[in-house]
Assembly symmetry: C2
Homo-oligomer: 200 residues x 2
């Protein structure tokens, strides 16, 4: 064994993380040895607590330490505007943008007949209940443009078809800063189809 | 605050590690939440213990959980062949090669007048004592080729000049697989100077 046992344990742990190979894991473990004792004990505590205390928000399914997440319990947010997402990781992305003042609904998966995941396997019934309790709401479907994402989008659209709900999806188009020459043809096709008039 | 507190704590910790930026730290913290409970508690324990239990070997200064490291206590290794290195991280590199059957001496620094680090600030006196207890020994100086490394190499060479000790250094030359066209001139100069006869 090349490493002392404790160091080997740390290296093995770091290697489980995404994007961390042998060399980086070694570097990270050695750097860990040089960190302050309080940083290490804080992190060690957070690690253990995270498994116990972090769970889904009872309303939207986002990650939280409480029964109801910060976003759902924020009285300044528009509860009638619900952004529907695949998993809670997307919440962080939207929150970083900082412009969105509605709330979220985490489906915790997408409908995928190939993997035998049906509508009952993801958080759709809780979405229906949630929307029924509102008078006038808008659902923004922010799901990826794969077969599973499209299937789920269509399914949700159909459920709410005859109800008093506005359904929208994120716009498709050219990412900011992208070179048009290198864009894939499907994106370019969508950007053409969804073009926006800018003259009066 | 975008993240739940516990997640934020994990992200902040990961960001202290080398080569980990905002985005990777987030990815790593989110991946951590999906790891098995036992992996997390093992790691958390190893983290805390590492600060308490890992220290320098009393003989060579390498990282160990015991008084004497695995290498120094290995009876099959040649105790008369000592590879002198700047810090214990080099031990792992040499051990990975797997061809070296001597032992090590970790200087824990290099002589650097610019930073007021003198010979008494690094583990040179313990090296002298160690060599004095041996009858016939060889020191391999494996220090980097910076001013500090060269100064330390010269200093150690001088100390042992009139003693019964063979002193060698690692060879300089072309790294395996390197393109000669792109090699820096100093390395090329050294490779020329240290050339090895291959004809009979």
């Amino acid at each position: 064994m090349i490493y002392p046992e404790l160091l080997q344990k740390m290296i093995s742990f770091y290697k489980k993380l995404p994007g961390v190979g042998d060399k980086s894991a070694e570097r990270m473990a050695l750097a860990t040895l040089e960190l302050k004792k309080e940083d290490i004990s804080d992190f060690s505590k957070a690690l253990l607590e995270s498994k116990e205390k972090l769970h889904s928000c009872q309303i939207c399914g986002h990650l939280t330490e409480n029964d109801i997440c910060n976003i759902c319990s924020d009285t300044t947010r528009d509860k009638n505007l619900i952004c529907v997402i695949e998993d809670y990781k997307s919440v962080f992305s939207f929150e970083k943008v900082g412009n969105y003042h509605g709330v979220y609904h985490v489906l915790n998966g997408l409908i995928s007949p190939m993997d035998s995941i049906g509508p009952e396997d993801i958080n759709i019934s809780s979405l229906v209940k949630r929307v029924e309790s509102l008078e006038d709401s808008e659902l923004i479907l922010a799901l990826k443009s794969t077969i599973e994402g499209e299937t789920t989008t269509l399914y949700i659209k159909k459920i709410f078809e005859k109800k008093n709900v506005t359904i929208s999806r994120l716009s498709y188009g050219i990412p900011i800063g992208a070179e048009i020459d290198y864009l894939d043809i499907i994106t370019l096709d969508k950007a053409l189809e969804d073009r926006k008039k800018i003259s009066e």
